[in-house]
């Protein structure tokens, strides 16, 4: 097969451009494919059952038409786009779907999907939004519930060794992603922001073993390459909501800037810590998926309670990792981005801005419509920002 002859960055690009191809091939060979929304579904259990996890994305190049009959136009365009693609049979190769309570619209998407798209198996995770001890108990209950539901769907149980093996494989993937991100630390970086988006999206469209193989190829290719990104005046950190298309990063990198680090959910957010292999593996999984993913959808009350009487301490406890990223990746400015109507990220922005101001990191905020064409006017804002920090 031509798709399997190419390797590394070329292969990542191919998968990025035709991401369902491998899932369809494997399905034709008898493997069941389980779609998942957001980074909270416990992929280790999907892998342990020899099912293929396949992340649901929208398509900012496809106008939303069908979904408008189910969701109002003034809600997250990414989630509207996901549903739209489902309604247009673009996810008709999925045998199952796992949704979770990302936000209120995300939560309602599971029900709408069942009603209108009707993928054979579906399960919704009511992932807690706080970090109290009771939240951890609830998350554990959710993880147990998902395990039982997946076992029922697959018609077999998850053995302890299979689950441990899956945890190891997914932790390997996280470590490989971090290794790839380390290649963005030199100046110029060895791998561009656009290439990173392609690779991350590609590995979320492949079985974990194939994703890991792809990452190894990309890492060794990038280390040796002579045609990498060129040195530019600005090195930027990108923070924000879902970015499942290269368009925005492409626009930024077409200017005098390299995007060298990100904190987005199709980027570092799902890969920057590991699942602990606990005696009962479900404990480690519950703890990881509740506490280790730093997304604004989780109110980090544990941090907040310690700092709640002091706004700046509160900001420090929530966002100091961004300062660490900027320091370690030598980023001189931060672009905050959010899709329009994403309250989850929108409400976080003033706090992030205040924190970045307090540590002297220049920043600018872009809100976009999750359409490729609407990104062009943002070019002036990014270029203006670069002129200010340059």
């Amino acid at each position: 097969m031509a798709a399997e002859q190419s390797k590394g960055l070329a292969r990542a690009r191919e998968v990025y451009l035709d991401r369902s191809r491998r899932a369809k091939e494997l399905r034709a060979e008898g493997k069941k494919v389980v779609g998942y929304l957001c980074i909270y579904p416990v992929l280790e259990m999907v892998t342990a059952l020899d099912l293929m996890p396949y992340r649901l994305f929208g398509d900012m190049r496809e106008p939303i038409t069908e979904a408008d009959s189910y969701l109002p136009t003034v809600v997250c365009p990414f989630l509207r786009s996901c549903l739209d693609l489902g309604l247009k049979d673009r996810y008709d190769f999925l045998d199952g779907i796992i949704t979770c309570h990302i936000c209120d619209v995300g939560a309602s998407l599971g029900g709408l999907w069942d009603y209108a798209v009707q993928t054979p198996f579906s399960h919704h995770l009511d992932t807690p939004h706080t970090l109290h001890e009771t939240s951890l108990k609830q998350e554990k209950a959710m993880v147990v519930g998902l395990k039982e539901a997946l076992e029922g769907f697959a018609g077999r149980t998850i053995s302890a060794p299979a689950l441990r093996n899956a945890i190891t494989l997914h932790n390997q993937q996280r470590a490989l992603v971090r290794e790839m991100y380390d290649l963005r630390k030199p100046d110029p970086p060895l791998i561009s922001g656009v290439e990173t988006v392609r690779v991350i999206k590609a590995i979320q469209s492949l079985p974990v073993q194939e994703g890991n193989q792809l990452l190894r190829e990309v890492i060794s290719e990038a280390r040796e390459r002579r045609d990498g990104p060129r040195k530019k005046s600005a090195r930027l950190l990108l923070w924000g909501s879902i970015l499942d298309d290269t368009a925005l990063v492409e626009m930024i990198e077409s200017l005098d800037a390299n995007v060298v680090m990100d904190d987005t959910c199709v980027g570092s957010r799902g890969f920057f810590s590991d699942v602990e292999l606990t005696e009962d593996p479900l404990d480690g999984l519950a703890r990881y998926y509740l506490t280790e993913i730093r997304c604004p959808r989780t109110f980090r009350s544990r941090d907040y309670m310690e700092a709640r009487k002091d706004y700046m301490k509160d900001l420090e406890s929530r966002f100091s990792y961004l300062h660490d990223y900027a320091r370690d990746w030598n980023a001189g400015g931060v672009i905050l981005e959010s899709v329009r109507y994403c309250d989850t990220h929108g409400y976080e922005v003033p706090g992030v801005e205040d924190y970045l101001d307090s540590v002297g990191l220049p920043r600018t905020y872009l809100e976009h419509d999750y359409t490729e064409g609407a990104l062009a006017p943002l070019r002036t804002r990014v270029q203006g920002f670069l002129e200010i920090i340059g």
């Binding site: 270029q383 203006g384 002129e387 200010i388």
Partner: protein
Amino acid sequence: MIRIYFAGIDLGSTMTKIVILDEEGQVLASVISHTGAEHRRLANRVMEEALGKAGLGIKEITFVLATGYGRINVPFADQQITELTCHARGVASFFPNVRLAIDIGGQDAKGLKIRNGRLLDFVMSDKCAAGTGRFLEVIADALGLKVEDLGEISMRSTRKVTVSSTCTVFAQQEVVNHLSAGVALEDVVAGLHDAIASRVARMVRRLKVELDVVFTGGVAKNIGVVKALEEHLGCAVLVPEEPLFSGAIGAALIGKERVMQALDRGEVLPTRERRLEEATFFG
């Protein structure tokens, strides 16, 4: 001695402006023209006109800096810089103490925070005609008026009405409703100016309003909007004599500064074969 000259071209969404400066910073020529669909052809034409006025040939221009929405469509430019930076520089050349500049053009509104002539931060309106020159053009057209007459008409107002929505389409409906209810034209127009000023004032407050406040762009020629903006900001608003040219002048000045700094460093000016050839998007 060889004289050197600089051109700044601001290809805005509605109007294209060009300025030619000499090395003392004196304006030798300025031209303004409507921006059409064919940016590249227009850029050439406006440049030729400006060169004619200045009595210069294109080869005598040392540095051309393009700015504005169509800045990438100026084939003979040496550099492109955003209108944010160029407006800030241009406004500071008219009013050195400026701390907040407000520019309302055909397609968007901008607020610029400036210190010592340098841009520090900015805000821009979203992709919506409300609060822009286009809003006034659409309403003027609906009322059968010339957009340039709106300012004077509004000054006759004694009881301006409230236009609750600055969405261009809905505001148009409100205007019709007010007129059919017998409200005087000048009171309706004053209400429209108030709606624009209120929207822009809310936006620029994010940058903190500090004197001097300068207002530029095509809408700054409308005395009604100037007055309304002063009311909403609670301070005097300065308007340059030629409020449309701040971007082009800023561009020419930045170009001049870059060349002068290079000469001070003893660098030899790069010579560039510059031709005003016809270029077009349409085959």
